[in-house]
Amino acid sequence: MQQFAALLRKDNKPVRYLVVDDSVFARKNLIKMIEMFGGEVAGEAGDGLTAIAEYNRTKPDVVLMDITMPQMEGIEAVERIVRQHADARIVMVSSVGYQENILAALQKGAKHFVQKPVKPEVLYEILRYVLGDDPNAVGAPAVLAGEQRS
């Protein structure tokens, strides 16, 4: 199995993730990757409404958000989370990757987009980028200093 240097917060603690997908199966797959990256699961949600509540409860460092979900879709959930928490880091994870979807998510405040099936090495690079976009917050220095991929 491919190994990755741990993605850490500035305080050297594991990055905390909120995983949002209506498929338990997809969440498990993402959680497996989060563990490969040395992260910690702060919470899980199966729809957009629960994602908002879980975000407020857990205050994660990163959200991995599906788009097509029951009750409230991912793009609307992004908009609502970002409205309340302008610094939220949300990465969209969806099997539908056409430009309209990606643009809509980015316009609502998502930081990045990854298409399913998610390749661990692709998600890792995206997380590095997303965590490193604000030098005053979690991520980049610890990650870059500790980069050793085999």
Binding site: S23, V24, F25, K28, N29, K32, T68, S95, Q115
Partner: protein, 167 residues
Amino acid sequence: MRMELIQPFINAADAVFAESLQAPTKIVDLSMDEETYRRKGVAALIAIKGDIEGRIILDLSPEVAIKIASQLSGAEVPESEQIVRETVCELANMVIGNSVTLLNDQGFKFKVFPPEVHVNTEGLGGDTETEAMVLCIETPCGNAYLNIAMHYLHRRRKERDAVPALD
């Protein structure tokens, strides 16, 4: 049935299984079918409506679904009907999502409906009169079947827009 409509689904199915399982896959059988589809295991049917209309069925045996779920979650998964359904639906979503991305980028507009899982013994006809293409994909976890019935409803948006309006 036009091959340009089918090819994205074939490519997506091959890529999704190969990337998900991190192993090579192979299309070992490809045939046309005019009969109502009889599922082989647990089948997820996804309907498409818009410039292109039709339906796609992904069909896996429960044993294959559990093997794939175990591989993807990195640990043995206990056999349960819910996990089998989840696995088939998520794989179908990935195959269809990747295919419609390709078709959308080519200018086709359509809506994709959530997967319906079928475990009964009735045939899956769908609402189109078109013949279906049936693919068997060989994976390290066992065979997966894809049944695609698709037809054009409208010309591509760009082509339609390019036609001058009549006075």
